[in-house]
Symmetry: C2
Subunit: 189 residues, 2 copies
């Protein structure tokens, strides 16, 4: 078996184990067992349980949203809402995200890794989407990108990850209309 295959198997095992038992109860032993390798294979790659988890979080941070220009603020918002819905409806994400958020309150290293991951995602959304809308004349140049991210990402996150109600595909349009109205009210063109 190649070295890279073992690393990939360990990453998958970590994500599954994290979703199954949570960060607090997760052990390096159980991850190794799930991957079908010895514990030493973990410690050869990562020094400890937190280091292992941080490496996965950093990976997620690097998977940037490409967000091609969809032509209008409303179309761009719909793309973000669909990407978020797809990600948040994945059962692994639904379990791991709150777990790491809880852990962030107790472990400054986890908190920092999560902040980097979130900042990356927010720069994508707030940066691209808002700057494009300003360039198109849909929003004013002084639009607050932080507030914009909260307005785009917050409702879909609340619905799917907290309240855990589905977002029917035929409601994405209505949500996009509402979000665009909110963005325009926050910074009219």
């Amino acid at each position: 078996v190649l070295r890279g295959d073992i690393t990939a198997a360990l990453r998958r095992a970590l994500i599954e184990e994290l979703a199954a038992v949570g960060y607090g109860r997760m052990s390096v032993e159980a991850v190794a067992r799930r991957a079908g390798v010895a514990k030493t294979a973990v410690y050869r790659r990562w020094g400890s349980k937190p280091e292992m988890v941080l490496a996965i979080v950093a990976e997620v941070a690097e998977r940037k949203l490409s967000l091609p220009d969809a032509g209008s603020l409303r179309a761009d918002v719909q793309v973000v809402l669909r990407i978020m819905a797809q990600a948040l409806e994945h059962p692994l994400a639904a379990q791991i995200i709150p777990d790491l958020l809880a852990e962030a309150g107790r472990d400054p290293k986890i908190a920092e890794a999560l902040q980097v991951a979130l900042r990356t995602a927010q720069d994508e959304v707030g940066g691209r989407l808002i700057r494009r809308a300003i360039a198109r004349g849909e929003l004013r140049a002084d639009a607050n990108p932080e507030l914009a991210v909260d307005l785009v990402v917050g409702p879909v996150y609340w619905r799917l990850a907290v309240s855990r109600r589905p977002l029917p595909p035929d409601q994405v349009g209505a949500l996009a209309d509402a979000v665009v109205a909110a963005l325009v009210a926050g910074a009219p063109a």
Copy 2:
């Protein structure tokens, strides 16, 4: 020491312990130790660790928001945003909520208790706030209360509980304006 005092001490100890170590690592022993009582005092009140946690979640659910009529949709939204900001900026809430959300994915009883708590909160917001706005002629009678809750609660939850950036008091007004615009776009009067 009175029986009720011990119960109150145990409730406080449970919340503190939950915030400190998380649901997964929390033990009944540690809660009892923190409260300065014997473990049997816990089992006399609650049968198990999950039962104890569920009892606290149910309590939170019963603490309904009173939400007196503030006179307009915008003013009502501001009140909700301020209440949520106050609750979410509390360090205990910031740690316990994601922890229980993570646990809900693994334990159907926790999931159900959380759903009851959230449904109560959402009925408060979606129900009162939206029905009042319809009565005032600010929103159309077919306003979607589910979408409305997502739009009011989502951005402030994302900002404070996920992204963990503060919401400066002078930005509550701008956020309220944006949320009202979103609500009106979702269901114009």
